[in-house]
Symmetry: C2
Subunit: 220 residues, 2 copies
């Protein structure tokens, strides 16, 4: 019943907590993970460094919250891109390319969200936690898309749903990481590319979706 206002004190606490996250967000987007330190955040909001530990157990915990929020934005963005009135083939490509473009709006966030190797990852093996994360929700709309493709006959019938979705995700992820990592991935090689970054993302998305489509190498 106590809707948003549980008490004057709680609201104050949430406000400070929000300010910390907002300051972290700001610094992080601008200077990346290297520029973000507890002391830097503390300076930004005119608190002492130790104060932050009243709101977050560790720096890692704080960062995880930032990353999760970022995935929420990707999720939302891809969701708004989806226009169910469009033909499936085009929609699938738009969705794929949209994920990559949204990820690249905040390259620091995206790279950080996938930093670290499995054993030392907190949430990697934790299936219970994963299924409630925004990552998982984003993955969910991907499996929905594949399912629709399978049921409508746009995709080859012998494709396994889950593995196909994960393969798509991996391919999207790969290009997002490459572009984030290299200064200008499309025109990186010795020979200059004719393609702009936007065109290249569409090209890649087309290949990814095309590999799943049934039919005789569909035109266009």
């Amino acid at each position: 019943m106590q809707d948003t206002d549980q008490s004057p004190a709680e609201r104050r606490r949430l406000r400070v907590r929000g300010a910390i996250l907002e300051a972290a967000e700001r610094v992080f987007a601008l200077e990346g993970a290297d520029g973000l330190s507890i002391r830097r955040i503390a300076d930004e909001i005119d608190y002492s460094p130790a104060a932050i530990y009243k709101y977050f157990g560790s720096k890692e915990e704080l960062l995880n919250e930032l990353k999760e929020a970022f995935f929420g934005r990707i999720l939302e963005s891809v969701n708004t891109i989806v226009d169910r009135s469009e033909p499936f083939a085009k929609r699938a490509r738009k969705c794929t390319a949209g994920y990559i473009r949204t990820a690249l709006e905040k390259p620091h966030h995206y790279v950080a969200a996938f930093a670290g190797v499995a054993p030392e990852m907190p949430m990697s093996g934790d299936l219970a936690g994963f299924s409630e994360s925004n990552r998982a929700r984003a993955f969910g709309i991907l499996t929905d898309l594949v399912e629709e493709g399978l049921e409508s006959g746009h995709f080859r019938a012998d494709l396994p749903l889950l593995e196909t979705a994960k393969s798509i995700w991996a391919s999207m992820h790969g290009l997002a990481m490459m572009i984030a990592h290299f200064n200008d991935f499309p025109s990186m090689a010795t020979m200059p590319s004719e393609m702009s970054q936007d065109q290249f993302i569409d090209f890649h998305a087309d290949l990814v979706v095309r590999s799943l489509e049934a039919g005789t190498e569909g035109a266009r």
Copy 2:
């Protein structure tokens, strides 16, 4: 003329330098980037931390050498996989899957090699340096493969060589990163997967190559 032995002093220097890299390699493979510190390396080889700076300008320089060596190993490994007597379609798939498997032999190395975001990357925009790196050489055998696919008619004729190669690389890279990042990517979602990791890598490689192939959705 002076083959390997340029002088007794130089050899000693190279030996110590090698010991530093070897110690770094050892710690890095086991504990990842976080466990690797200059002081840790110094302990490992019984030197003082400052001594390392007589051999490497900075920690970053040392790490770059590790990464470059790692890409040399990937390059070598993928090269030995290639068996030109095999049919092209199979060879292309083996090559793609081989890259991913080799990358995953040392997940810490692979993730570290692609860590960081463009602006703060040393070699990202540096085309001259790139073209001589092992990364570039690995990319070279990829473009060769695509070229062969185009000329032999296995691949659709309208595919742009460079962009296609980069798209493949991105897709391979994506899966390698995903598996390295998540504890068990193939069976990560709520519903357990029927596919082993090895099978999934092959599945992904097949999709990647298939998206380029000409013909009427070739059987097998």
